[in-house]
Amino acid sequence: MKIRRGWKWFILPMVAALLVATFLLVGCSSGSLGTITENGSTTVQPLAEKLAGAFKAKNPDVNVVIQGGGSAVGIKSVNDGTVDIGAASRELTAADPTLVKHLLARDGIAIIVHPSNPVTGLTKEQIIGIFAGNISNWSQVGGQNKSIDVVAREEGSGTRTAFQDLVMGKALIKSDAILQNSNGFLKTAVSSDSQAIGFISMGLVDSSVKALAINGVAATEENAKNGTYPVVRPLYFLTKTQPTGIVKDFIDFCTGPDGQKIVAEEGYITVE
């Protein structure tokens, strides 16, 4: 009987070819001037990726790596020295380590409902009541006679912490609220449920949801910018010390006119 070695000799060249092809592809984009690493807030992540792409287009020798992980991870990593830049979507508190803050943009947090919901605005007290579970029917706030489905972000999310601090204050979000672990999933939850209410980054609002006015102030970029809209949080790039070299270049780019143009395009509020 023939003892065939055919398989070994088939797989090996294929693997080698694949290896070569991949290294060729990968070798094309190398950062010979250096690499900037960033991680942190998932709200900031898409914006940071856009900024990184634009920066790389102008500086092809620099590699910028954007990762996620959440505001808490960003703060911790940049403090530990694991990354160059940590992104946070909330104000730093006394519990956080001291870091250098670079304001990237401001982001309103929009209270969103399903587009078919007749309610167009709520007072802050009503919002607190709804999210804390005291108000449980839309009819109690001028809507239809349906129960309110509360959707929130998970504990530890920068967006949730900002919402907690800026809106809820001492009141706690009710324990049986639906929790989604990202802006995107929260938006999906609200856009498919006519009885839902939730909160997402204002930059992510589109026609699939409706943003409510708070205390009569509409949730627009204008109002967030001029300070009349009450729920606005900062988006920070954090560094351990004053940045130098390519990190400084990148941050200057982001806070400068080119970067701010992208900030505006993405739906966030620019900083002066």
């Binding site: 991949t22 190398s30 998932t42 898409p46 914006l47 992980g69 694991t82």
Partner: protein
């Protein structure tokens, strides 16, 4: 109620049985159909070959995810082969029925049941943090190796056991040592089965999310080295659905993943048929 006749019980039972099969196939078609229906329209060559641009609208394509996936698949398989096939050789050729073998088998069988997220935690503690590999393709690959070891061991052991005794006996009769018989005769004969196992592992890598979510970081950039972070296709799909407005792009990525899985399954089935034909057709 009068007792049903055996015949009518049988008819009812058969209806239920056929119904179960029908429902199973329905589930399959529903999932694949939905994903392909929403995702295929978005697919194009530029989608496959351009990099993701980031941003809240999720522009760009999935080229970096494809490269990261290929990278991690190759790294994982390269590391996995020796311990995996080695263990299979031990279990089928050398192991005696003693306490040592029982411990080893217990290890393999139990490891197979550990959930992916626990592997993720483990990889995070050891590879990302303790060994300082950080969020990288390397950390992800090493975690995957731990996850997939039992799978490769099981399929390889079956493949090796399926080689007829006559092969080994013929080699030994010709004067070879035990290892020579294994290396030059048994292994090559078992190669199709082992290849099937390897391809099965590739399929699982492409689809794996939970353990890579915690060990690879979420970077959508093109990986430049083994220590860069990255996203596999499944992870990219998750991030698209999570962070951006581009659900259709997420679906398109899902479509790509499903097509890859279908291709892999077809290859496995073809290999298995050839393997069986050779085994039962040959000496």
């Amino acid at each position: 109620m009068p007792k049903m006749s055996a015949k009518s019980t049988q008819t009812l039972a058969k209806i239920f049985i056929w119904g179960s099969g029908f429902i199973t196939v329905l589930i399959l078609f529903l999932i694949i159909g939905y994903v392909l229906a929403r995702g295929l329209p978005q697919l194009s060559l530029s989608f496959l070959f351009s990099a993701p641009q980031g941003g809240t609208s999720g522009e760009g394509g999935i080229s970096t995810a494809i490269v990261s996936t290929i990278y991690i698949v190759m790294l994982t398989i390269a590391i996995l082969i020796i311990p995996g096939i080695g263990a299979a050789i031990y279990l089928s050729e050398y192991a005696k029925d003693n306490w040592l073998t029982r411990i080893i088998r217990y290890g393999v069988d139990t490891l197979a049941g550990v959930p992916s997220i626990v592997f993720g935690l483990f990889g995070f503690v050891i590879f990302v943090t303790a060994l300082q590999f950080r969020f990288s393709i390397l950390s992800g690959a090493l975690t995957l190796v731990c996850l997939l070891l039992p799978t490769l061991i099981r399929t390889s052991e079956e493949a090796i056991k399926a080689v007829p005794r006559s092969h080994r006996e013929a080699a030994l009769a010709l004067g070879s040592t035990k290892w020579q018989a294994i290396w030059h005769v048994v292994l090559p004969a078992a190669m199709p089965g082992i290849a099937t196992g390897i391809i099965l592992c590739i399929g699982r890598i492409v689809g794996e999310t939970a353990c890579l979510y915690v060990t690879m970081g979420g970077s959508s950039a093109m990986p430049t080295s083994l220590l860069s972070g990255g996203r596999t296709l499944s992870l990219h799909l998750f991030y698209l659905a999570t962070e951006t407005n581009a659900m259709s792009k997420a679906m398109a990525t899902a479509a790509v993943v499903i097509i890859v899985i279908l291709v892999i399954n077809t290859i496995i089935n073809w290999l298995t048929h050839r393997f069986q034909a050779r085994m039962y057709g040959g000496a």
